[in-house]
Symmetry: D2
Subunit: 338 residues, 4 copies
């Protein structure tokens, strides 16, 4: 942490800053210049005390040096984390993994039909919502445990591992029982009790970025999961909220190489939510593969106009199959398979 003192900081002010640094067990390194005095504060987690220094008289600003997270960082682990889902599905390895399926699970028949279709086209994980976070209390909220059972049955029939969302600490055990990957949705990215709870499960966690979460905050949310013992976290970019209203959210594909630099965790992209309009999704899916994502999450529904949620952004199975061919070509072009 670096403290920059105010140009007119007094000697007593500087002294009490130095005293506080030592009290907290850190070592100060002071540099006096004509225009400024700066103090480097060395010590484990010094930045976590930034509030204390910001509140002191004479302090102009406090800047972090080392990053506030640890377990998620490249410094902690140099090589990429690869998560083994069983069934030969590795996330974070050479193959780009596509997770596909309906936004909400509706009937078992339709789920099975969709699962078979996406599997045939090359998807390796089935997605499907059982608990649905909905902006309106009057909107469909998900079929809950019944949907989880459908997912498990369809897994048995197709061999596709399943990813589904948990919204509530009390449902973590239940979802853990059924899911191969537990999803924490964008609206819960800073639901810290939920992060702690999923951090104690044995399943990989797919952690979506919040709609206005900075990359640093997102990594700190992943750090909540890891510091509770679960090291298998998949980061999923799904669009951020900006001033632009012609798409549902703004995909932040910059985030992929930035994350690759900062963290060893696998990174996937969800263009369905990031764009929100069916006809634009294929273009963004190809961009996501080209930018270096380890996987994609895509909504597919055989009858979008009857979907219980997100119909307008669901691909038809035949659109999905066509897209998979295109994605394969892009994956090869960037040295990967799909």
């Amino acid at each position: 942490m670096i403290l920059t003192l105010k140009a007119d900081a007094t000697k007593p002010q500087i002294d009490s800053v130095l005293k506080k640094i030592k009290e907290l067990g850190f070592t100060p390194h002071t540099t006096h210049g004509k225009e400024m005095t700066i103090i480097g504060v060395i010590g484990e987690n010094a930045i976590l005390s930034r509030d204390i220094f910001e509140a002191m008289d004479g302090v102009e600003s406090v800047a972090p040096i080392s990053k506030p997270y640890k377990l998620v960082s490249r410094e902690f682990k140099k090589e990429n984390t690869v998560i083994d889902l069983g069934h030969g599905v590795l996330i974070g390895a050479d193959r780009v993994i596509v997770m596909a399926g309906p936004c909400s699970v509706d009937t078992k028949e339709r789920l099975l039909y969709t699962a078979q279709a996406v599997k045939e086209a090359g998807a390796r994980v089935l997605r499907g919502g059982a608990f649905k976070p909905r902006t309106s209390p009057y909107a469909f909220q998900g079929h809950g445990e019944k949907a989880l059972r459908f997912l498990a049955e369809v897994r048995k029939q197709t061999g596709l591992p399943v990813v589904t969302e948990v919204m509530n600490v009390n449902d973590v055990k239940l979802v853990e029982e059924y899911a191969d990957i537990i999803q924490v949705g964008a609206r819960n990215v800073q639901n810290f009790d939920l992060l702690k709870a999923v951090g104690k499960t044995k399943r990989p966690i797919l952690l979506k970025r919040g709609m206005s979460t900075t990359i640093q905050e997102w990594l700190l949310s992943a750090e909540y999961v890891m510091s509770n013992g679960n090291y298998n976290v998949i980061l999923c970019e799904r669009g951020i909220r900006t001033f632009e209203t012609s798409t549902r959210f703004t995909m932040d594909l910059n985030a992929v190489p930035v994350l690759r630099h900062l963290t060893h965790l696998p990174i996937i992209v969800d263009p369905s939510h990031g764009v929100g309009i069916r006809e634009y999704i294929p273009a963004l899916a190809k961009a996501a593969v080209a930018v270096g994502a380890d996987g994609l999450m895509l909504e597919v529904h055989p009858k979008p106009e009857e979907a219980l949620s997100d119909g307008p952004q669901s691909l038809l199975p035949e659109q999905f199959a066509k897209l998979m061919g295109e994605l394969r070509a892009v994956a090869l072009a960037v040295g990967r398979t799909l």
Copy 2:
């Protein structure tokens, strides 16, 4: 809901849109023009089916007419909601109510000292955090139930009702036992299970706006609380996330008159979080009273440099007392008391 059809929508496409409208139990009102065909769709909650229509061929766009919320709206209840906390404290009435106290509860002595100081200066509610949502897993997470007990004891000694945050559905019962107002924080504004849970309590709910929640989404979150039976919701603007980094968040004071127009619920403002820098808080607090807020939430701590969280944005008791005098003058200028 108004559907605008594409300029080149075919007769069969239009017919299947009309068929779907009737299937869903709504009434279509069609207008054909040279450039366009528009269909008004009349019926309770028609807008909740917008996804279905957006996914249909031939449909250009879908626009809501009636608002998607109901219980929170001015149409539902014309006169302002006034919430009676007991002890003669009314929120939403003529008097602007100031809630003050430390961000996190630390020691009982310090809490009592602060409570007495803010009470003497004119605060009518004591704030204090027991459960603290923190971006980093390594930051102080609150003293939990012990802090709740301190709050209750200080309430007994000072007569000040208490507002404190709940983060987790499993803590709702516990917090309800101790608190006079249950706060749902910005990061949980779309934690829908938590909203349902507090909607089943008997305490007023102080619902903070999320850092990137639109006014409409925020009102829908309030609708979650109300539709679960709890009609006493206080909306608290606390700054939104924008590109500007010279303050912690950007206070959206526009929201106050907009909410006043849309809803009957009381509206308060939290300039401590909205600005995040001590010296700018008094100016924004005065602006909040002038713009028409029903109350303020302010962080006060006798030793900000030792505060367990948010030291840099906590006012000293003497700064708070001075500010209260200034706020009183502004309140009178806009026809209120404080």
Copy 3:
């Protein structure tokens, strides 16, 4: 400027950074720590070379210490700048100055009528657009020089000094001839050639904030004007672009105390554009006075439905008169007059 070197920066990398610092005529102050090496770079305008250092191997990050602007800063001039418009009108003094009038000048009769009405209600400056920046090429673009002549005639009849916008370097001379204050609009805040040109005039410049301009960028734009010789700059906050769509822009009233801290220049607020909806403007105007603005800019039109632009956000003369009474009360409450 502070350089933080990468944890694994090599000796030769560090040496070449030090060499470059000296080459550029600055003095390095180096601190070696266990986790990092930091180098303070002392010298006039060192930060302007930040690009060079960011591009060097071994450099992790570059942070400014001293601010990148000079003439606009409080350090350069401690006391507030007060701009004398003649006619006894001072901007930046105790009295809050209200500038009012139509968005676009239409007929001379209507302009005179409006000017007399706003003057009677207490406005001290007349606003009116002659050159109008419009998003669409098909929208009304202003009456140009004819409108400038109307403004000058109405000034003669009412004694109100006039503020009007210039959009183009070639019109600067013309506008300077007619206007008492030359406005640079939000869309031109980084039209640097225009800033240089108005910096060479003798008139005070009213510089609106751009819709996504940070406070620092805005101050650098003011620095363009001042560094060209014109020290009379008035900063005008007029709302920033955010994700919220229920108002036209989001008023950033935080900016007022932040600017007060950073600069000696007078600060005014334009709630008409910042909110964009007539019925919400009075609340925000009161907030702007309470937060400490030196003045307000308000759109007033006797027939908003016939206004050539911005009808929906124009106050009627009688609404304006009522608001002025309310603003006077708020001004007194914060120790000012109006």
Copy 4:
């Protein structure tokens, strides 16, 4: 345009709305429902009168139907515009066109060296700044006409057509003389007088998106150019301003398919500014090709640490050459050449 009337709109209010519609020469189509009355307003450019209707009593909201722009739209011209720069360079055709070169032109030797290097690697247009919009008045402002001459000489030696920026209406003639493509920068995207001026030239215009310009506003800016007679406009996405600070801007690649749907104009992407950090640029460049851009603009400099601007985001010639190979593979994967 669709007017939705307030639920409690009175008969006289509705009548005066209908009267105004006819006065303005439009045709009203009225639909009365239980909850609402809606009026479709048919006629050329009806939406440009939206302000008038929004200001009328009884009107709840005004929504556009037809888009506010015309010449730029797909409706106006179904097939993609292809711009022929001579030298066999077509923008908007199958081949993805890469424009590369230094941010600012420095010496002629270095410009020539860079031009030869990027040409050899496959770039088809040379970029180089002569007039530089800089946030600080103290930063390097470009070598002006001298730099234009260097560009022309290097064009002669390499055969590469040249793109360079104009900032000022008075320099348009000069830049037109030297440039093959005239660039209007992000900060001037709503400098309407400049748009009109370049609309009267014979050169293709490369119009960058402003940092907070919506897609619709951007298209309206392109409409300014086209409605002044110049139909050769290239749209260039270069990153928008969001809350995320870990990259310089946030690339909005969603914009590419959205624009493809709305307009016939060619679309290119500038990842150098959109990310702003050298090591992340290749990933985003590949994404831009995959998402369907017709071209890329990339900053290349042989000595980034000596560049007069944007050193940290300039690729080295050897990085650029390597990237071009990778881009070629991605282009082929999406059915194009490069």
